[in-house]
Symmetry: D2
Subunit: 371 residues, 4 copies
């Protein structure tokens, strides 16, 4: 299969998610990371590039977009792994330069930034330039299995969704040196708190699996840790455009929770449950029959999107890698990217953040899409 060339914006020394993107891109051997603007600090940018053995290191994403677009061997795609408020600049620059964009979530820190990106994505689409948002949990094989089961009617008409994403790493005031905590709890850089960082993942997963998008929501946001400027616990009721009712809980103060992303879906014919921390199994019940345990690649599931036989667990990195593999197929023309989250999912997430904040500010009244 054709190998592709990848660039990266952000992800220098000390960053978290950049390293994850790099492993994910490498795992299926489809991408070569060759260029980067890894840090806005030139010294750190170069040191980071040296660590990674990058062929080309830039100190500005604008320069990088221009230079790479001009090269015969320029990058095919760029991964944007900066904090949320730094997505719009590089995303627009690379899209405008005709370079495919793989962007971390949520889309942006503000609705204005998001709208600007959406505008650029629309223009780029006409020229065949793709935009992908790394809602990586959609890459888990059993999540894609669940989506296929809903689509073919195994659960019947979807009625109820229970989505949650619980962590505890912000249950107390973090160490001031914790850079991850610093920007993720800064309204200017992050936009939202738990709702943006993890709530958008839970929403996206619910939509991805059910095919229903959020139509209205009511939210009760709270910040339990003194001095925190963003929400650290969010209780949300949703009405989906296909008629399902949902509850969504996002929390960073749920002591004892590491990365508790969990999805439960109920239709009139069946129900299923999946949890991210043990992603290789899912339960499914047809009404009136015994509950089944479906395993990744096991009996009753498709072998798609898996690398190794059932019983040999795949994890977070493998799921993330599947997005990079799909992106490679999309760009190389060997796949249609139908399962890749794009600007629609991205804008749903932005609406979700804004609507949560608006509802909570009005004592939890329901806010409808279009309001």
């Amino acid at each position: 299969m054709k190998r592709l060339k990848l660039g990266m914006v952000g992800g220098g020394q000390g960053a978290f998610i950049g390293g994850v993107h790099r492993i994910a891109a490498r795992l299926d051997n489809r991408w070569d990371l060759v260029a980067g603007a890894l840090s806005s600090d030139p010294v750190r940018a170069q040191a980071s590039a040296d660590d990674l053995g990058l062929a080309r290191s830039y100190t500005s994403y604008e320069d990088m977009a221009k230079a790479e677009a001009a090269r015969d061997d320029g990058i095919d795609a760029v991964s944007i792994v900066t904090p949320n408020h730094m997505h719009a600049g590089p995303a627009i620059a690379f899209l405008n330069a005709g370079i495919h964009v793989i962007c971390d979530k949520p889309l942006a820190a503000t609705q204005d930034q998001a709208d600007d990106i959406a505008h650029a994505v629309e223009n780029a689409r006409a020229k065949g330039t793709h935009f992908i948002l790394t809602h990586n949990y959609t890459g888990y094989p059993l999540i894609r299995q669940a989506r296929a089961m809903v689509a073919r009617g195994d659960l019947g008409q979807i009625r109820v969704i229970q989505a949650e994403y619980a962590q505890d790493w912000l249950a107390q005031a973090p160490d001031p040196d914790n850079k991850q905590a610093a920007w993720r709890t800064d309204p200017a850089r992050a936009g939202g708190g738990a709702i943006g960082d993890i709530g958008t993942h839970a929403l996206n997963l619910a939509s991805f699996v059910t095919g229903q998008r959020p139509a209205a929501l009511a939210a009760d946001l709270h910040s339990f840790v003194g001095g925190r400027m963003v929400d650290d616990n969010a209780h949300i009721l949703l009405r989906m455009d296909g008629g399902a009712r949902a509850m969504l809980w996002a929390s960073q103060v749920a002591v004892g929770s590491e990365n508790g992303l969990r999805l439960r879906i109920y239709g009139d014919k069946g129900g299923l449950e999946w949890g991210q921390e043990n992603p290789n199994q899912m339960t499914f019940t047809r009404f009136g029959q015994p509950k089944q345990i479906l395993t990744r690649g096991g009996a009753g599931t498709g072998p798609d999107w898996t690398r190794i036989p059932p019983g040999h667990p795949e994890g977070y990195l493998e799921g993330f890698a599947t997005l990079y593999a799909d992106a490679a197929d999309l760009i190389a023309g060997t796949g249609d990217g139908a399962l890749l989250p794009g600007i629609e999912a991205a804008m749903d997430g932005m609406w979700f953040i804004a609507a949560c904040q608006a509802s909570s500010a009005k004592d939890g009244v329901f806010i409808s899409r279009g309001q």
Copy 2:
């Protein structure tokens, strides 16, 4: 220990919960069931009494209350196990006759009925006559353990509560012959649907463990099965009087759920999780330490309220029996009944049902206690 004499109203042939109360009363050998008005149908009442070998069978609870109060060997307490709309009559009659009342939940089908009972309870209290509501899940040893842990500060200040009670037995229209389904989905007899039948249990458990009562709520009730007159799925946000925020989900259409009552509590120092279907274990995490699995009577827990050593599972009947044992102690003067749900919990449940219906009717606005 002193043995006591028990009567029963309701619970004749074909009923469900009456049989449960009888086993629960028998398990710890504190009660003799000696009298009953088991059915409003005289023939069925007598046949039911014969089945049980009751000494005295009545055809009306009014007669029974009078006659038993007049006997030297009259019953000490009566269990009321009729449908919700039939609680008020017997409860008031027996309380007024000076006979202790053990009443199934929720308290009543309407607020008026509930107020009448509450009035009778208040009068009876002055005379030392007790009223107990069988929120039986409070009898599980680990639930009492959790309450003790919260009370002594193991979890710190409680911030977040996640309570849920999911079933699937009403996911489709029930058989018309199903008497349990018939009255439980009839607004006149039941009062509410999922919110009353199971939602009140979830609320009660959350309050029992945390010591916080509901101060305000917003609800999105729904009825998914065509023709159903009561809610079968309820999504509720709560604000508790001690500052905790809660989500409560009650559903009778969650396919794959048998009796999924589950409680998760998070404070600033710790978090715990418990589920009714495997009630002999609970997880507890102190912030920053490994999660612990606490077992009923096992290391790190009190031996209280258990009958057999850890590892030998106790279940639903044992938990229910603990309420009868505590009631016996309270009535015999060998216990203070401090853990027994009474009229306060009962009235919280009635407010919960009414507030859910009111909020949902107003598109989910928050309704405060006192409004």
Copy 3:
């Protein structure tokens, strides 16, 4: 249903299993406990009888057997809940007196005692007097479900059995005041250590479910705690008379295990797994299909032997009670007692203990039945 009268030998103040038998006998309301020889110490016997409100207290089981047999309102059956070396005397006395015997397990402390009981059982059988051994775990509804599934061929030809019973209460030298530990680790009173106290349960369960009896075994017994005179850890390989191969592990030194009785059965068409600590669910897999979770009374299982609906857990006491209910049916002539463990299971257990000791003494060679 006809009520029966029960007597008890052993089970006085401070004993453990006697109290369990009493609750089990009471739970389904078929038995009245009316007589007992609760202790060999007359003062303690009377005090214990007073605690229980027994009509008739004896100081010797011989007197009791004679006196009860002579009364018109004498006991129908006796429960023998003494230490193992004290089973034979009362069992034989009551059988010879024509009174049905319900005896705790294992059958006896020595093979000679066992043979004497077996002889008495044979004589009694001719007169319609029954002998029941309380291998109580056979009363769990899902264990009976498993047996039915094997019998009807759901698993095909049984090939492999994995049985284990792990505890940790003897992982260190017990407190000298611990009476339970004292007699259970005394060769004279107990006969065997882990093999007798818990290993026989695991063996019995394996046989009960598969219908295969032990044909040969090899054992590696060990005593890890200094000064202990009986085995506290047993590793056993078994060959069953129906061709299945089995492993059986019994341990009282497995730190972190409370009462870990677990059974896994594999045939050429299916496999199942069950664990006693969460006895209300079992997994079952048909070869090539998804694993199913079967719940007590839930979809795909029979409603037999259960008292309350699926999702409301039943436990150890309920399972134990089912043996008493079955015994009542057998004695009253309303049941055939086909599922009750009797002298055959009892003698299998005695062979198991002796063969484990013989094999281990010969460095683990296989010992065959009949050798």
Copy 4:
């Protein structure tokens, strides 16, 4: 960090484990796969090399060893991923050529082959050439955590080991086209059946964690599927050289088991349990305290050997990759390879296979090391 050059013998089109080795080698970005003798069939070798974009494709491992040793840019190490009976040839050739060898397990199909490899390893060691056996499960972070906990005494003196590896893919006669099944059930190519393919993994894991090696064993091997020439179910009792007693079950006919490798270790102070199918958590109990759930990288565990934060599951490929990363460190001189399985573990596995077969042939008598 220094990048290294890797070659591969075996692993051409249609093979299984070769692909796993390649992902594992790639994941941490330490290795470039540049050469291979991927198949003994020249056409398939070349096609396979083309698929992988290999710089150099060979048709014989002898040629490859010579040519690569002679090049300035020759491979640093070779991965041998052929069936068991084809390990010795390439292993010896590359070792003799001074090229480090990473070899799949078990070491060989016969003891003679194993001895030859061991001899070559000994000679190579003197020249600084390393031999690594990919007992990949040792790369799971929690397995290394468990080893560290045993080593520092958290469990006290180890008494009991329960190791098992259960699968069901050979529960029925496999499709004749199934190449994996074909060689793995062929005595000439595989050496043993379940004992070699998976039993050696279970043994290795038990030894790796406890630091105790097998001293004696008794085995009851069986082949349940008609016509099968190797064991498909093995029941084994072990005595370890440090005094622990062990049971080991290896089965390929345990219906409902995908890849059920499970390890339980009990000492006088603590016990732990781990299962491969959900490798990111382990339970640990200190005697008399509540059981703890330890998670990969979570509270109470070291962050070592993990790539991503707790709660984001790592799996089989990540564990396997850790062996390649450690091998890179060992070869590059940046690590001591102390945790890498080598010839000692390999020869323990060969003894295990032979002793199982010998014991089983003698009706299960214990066979001691050195016999």
